[in-house]
């Protein structure tokens, strides 16, 4: 089912933008709509507290949610094509496990957000470097990369277990546990430059490359016969994709399901052509995570971990998609 209507491109922009704006109006501290508008337009009137809340508390957080959501969804879509497997999440190559280990390691010594994020990012890159090494040694076929990812992920998970063991159960261990559940709480402007920079490079990269991604869904032999340098392009996509995931996970913790489910929903909407799938995934991913994060910070007095929400929504969503898949498979046969 391919929708060729002209309205699709408009929705792609409208969806995340409206989610963004809506999110700015919502929060535990009730601020009148007009006051919010005044703050955003830079007008006089609203108190300093309102101004601070909207510009320094809500705005950076919603922006982060948009970037993280878009990144995870786009990379998930790209990896699903790259690995020719619709069950792939953006975390398949052990990047998340590396980041989790890095964050936990930092949390042993400090609670300073910047250090924790940097450590998470660095170890995410270490994880992917290890996977690449495996690829270089054993040939970067998709199978080798996946196995490499599993092994590296398992390695970092074990190391994470070790850290959890020595962590102080009064303070450090809960901090680690919370980080692993994923959250965008207390996101400040100072947290954003790395994420924004990497997103600003990575997402346009995938946008430009989007049609070419179609060619990676065929076998390596066919792709090579069509003039594609498969190994090279695979390496580049893995590298850029990993950067996007690493930057996102370093800030937000381990959030699952976005990379897996959003591309599938996007496919139902615009079809499997990556020319449309990449923008659709980005838009849907951003909008979804903005909405989920808004829920996380407003539904209850205490924060609901973001990873919990994505799981609670992601699992039934995936189940519905799966039933749909079985039904269409049945029709074809």
């Amino acid at each position: 089912m391919i929708r060729k209507d002209r309205s699709v491109p408009w929705i792609l922009v409208l969806l995340p933008v409206s989610a963004f704006i809506l999110a700015l109006f919502l929060g535990r501290y009730g601020i009148h709509i007009l006051d919010t508008v005044r703050v955003l337009l830079g007008l006089d009137g609203p108190s300093d507290v309102f101004r601070a809340l909207i510009l320094r508390v809500r705005l950076p957080r919603v922006l982060a949610a948009a970037c993280v959501g878009a990144n995870l969804a786009v990379v998930g879509a790209a990896f699903q094509g790259l690995f020719r497997n619709p069950l792939v999440d953006s975390r398949i190559l052990g990047v998340s496990s590396g980041a989790a280990f890095g964050a936990a390691l930092a949390l042993l010594f400090t609670s300073q957000g910047m250090i924790v994020q940097t450590s998470a990012f660095i170890f995410a890159l270490v994880a992917i470097a290890l996977v690449m090494l495996v690829g270089v040694r054993f040939g970067s076929s998709t199978l080798v990369l996946v196995i490499g990812g599993i092994l590296v992920g398992a390695l970092f998970n074990s190391l994470l277990g070790l850290i959890k063991y020595v962590a102080d159960p009064l303070s450090t261990l809960p901090a680690i546990t919370y980080w692993l559940l994923g959250s965008l709480n207390a996101t400040q402007w100072s947290d954003l430059p790395p994420l924004l920079t990497i997103t600003g490079v990575g997402l346009p990269f995938f946008a430009l490359l989007r049609w070419r991604l179609n060619l990676l869904t065929v076998s390596d032999t066919e792709a090579m016969a069509m003039g594609i340098r498969v190994r090279l392009i695979r390496t580049v996509i893995v590298a850029v994709g990993t950067l996007l995931v690493a930057a996102s996970v370093a800030l937000a913790g381990t959030i699952g399901w976005i990379g897996l489910v959003i591309p599938h929903v996007a496919r139902v909407w615009v079809g499997p052509d990556y020319g449309r799938l990449i923008p659709a995934s980005a838009a849907l991913g951003a909008a979804t995570l903005i909405l989920l994060d808004t829920l996380a910070r407003t539904a209850m007095p205490s924060e609901i971990p973001l990873g919990v929400l994505t799981g609670l929504i992601g699992v039934p969503a995936f189940f519905i998609l799966f039933l749909r898949f079985l039904r269409t498979r049945g029709e074809a046969q």
Partner: protein, 337 residues
């Protein structure tokens, strides 16, 4: 003549074994009935909180291995602690309880945490070592725990336990009396944060009882579970008058007072952000010191209303229950003066 000697020896032996066979049966805080052969000379505690019950009842010298809440290795023990317990290097331990070490120490009794040591307790019982499981999460349960501990530590301990309960009740009543005239809406609204600025206690945690015992109202009393993560908007919404930081973790009052996003809070504008001091055990956990915790909180909340002398209470407590004399510096730290 030999027959007489034999007879007397036999009687003597019987008497001895009779004495050695004296025992007591208690019900621990997991509801289990435990029979303990007395006297208990060698004791092991793998419960960082239960250790302090033992010290408070004057039996600290019987510990062969001990866990201390918040202290994992010698390097994280404060100078005060090292001075208080000279044997610390010898008996300090932490982590997953090591059964073999416990047996090797000759432990006649092990005290453990009811919320995590069920399996370990099972194994110890199989080896013939009685285990007492504690689960004290409210002041009432704290008192029960102290009484329970006294039951197997001997009659001297019983007296200490009674004294402690009396002191605790006295303090709570004194505070209640001092604050009688305060209306509900004049009570201090208190936010108790954790090891990060956005972590707060829930209504079910021990600290909430302490705050209420000190006459305050915890703004987070409707939350449940363990530490809760909240966002700044919610904190601004609560707008507490006083913010308390626990005696552990890395947060200092300056982290809040100097934070530009927290400026509009009542507590920050009135400079009422305090970190709980700590000499030995953390006062906000269900240890005997929590008696001082209530006192300290009450004095912090209502300096003009409380009638007791905090310094006196602190000195007296440590002398009576820990046989410990504070230095001037330590006392100053505790009283904040």
């Amino acid at each position: 003549m030999t027959k007489l000697w034999i007879a007397v020896s036999l009687v003597f032996l019987c008497a001895l074994t009779g004495l050695a066979q004296s025992e007591t049966t208690v019900i621990d805080q997991s509801g289990r009935s435990v029979t303990i052969p007395l006297p208990v000379e060698i004791l092991v505690s793998v419960h960082g909180i239960g250790t302090y019950y033992v010290y408070a009842l004057g039996a600290g010298d019987r510990l062969a291995i001990a866990y201390y809440i918040g202290v994992k290795t010698l390097s994280s023990a404060s100078e005060s602690m090292l001075r208080w317990e000279p044997r610390l290097a010898e008996i300090l331990s932490y982590g997953d309880p090591n059964i073999e070490e416990m047996v090797a120490s000759g432990a006649q009794l092990v005290i453990a945490d009811g919320s995590q040591h069920e399996a370990v307790a099972e194994q110890l019982r199989d080896l013939g070592i009685p285990v007492i499981l504690y689960r004290a999460e409210t002041p009432e349960e704290l008192k029960e725990a102290v009484v329970l501990t006294a039951a197997f530590l001997g009659s001297g301990a019983q007296a200490q336990a009674d004294a402690f309960i009396a002191d605790y009740d006295r303090m709570v009543n004194a505070i209640a009396t001092d604050l009688e005239s305060l209306a509900e809406n004049e009570r201090a609204r208190v936010l108790f944060v954790g090891t990060s600025l956005t972590k707060v206690i829930s209504g079910e945690m021990y600290q909430t009882h302490l705050i209420e015992g000190a006459g305050g109202i915890s703004v987070t009393r409707e939350l449940f579970g363990s530490w809760n993560e909240v966002n700044l908007e919610q904190i601004l919404l609560w707008d507490p008058e006083i913010i308390i930081i626990p005696p552990y973790g890395l947060i200092q009052p300056a982290d809040i007072l100097d934070n530009p996003d927290w400026q509009s809070l009542n507590a920050v504008q009135n400079h009422r952000v305090y970190r709980m001091p700590r000499i030995i055990a953390p006062m906000d956990t269900p240890v005997p010191e929590s008696l001082l915790g209530i006192a300290w909180l009450a004095r912090t909340f209502y300096p003009d209303y409380v009638s007791f002398d905090l310094a006196e209470e602190i000195v007296g407590f440590y002398a009576n229950y820990y046989q410990f004399t504070l230095t001037d510096e330590e006392l100053a730290r505790m009283t904040g003066q």
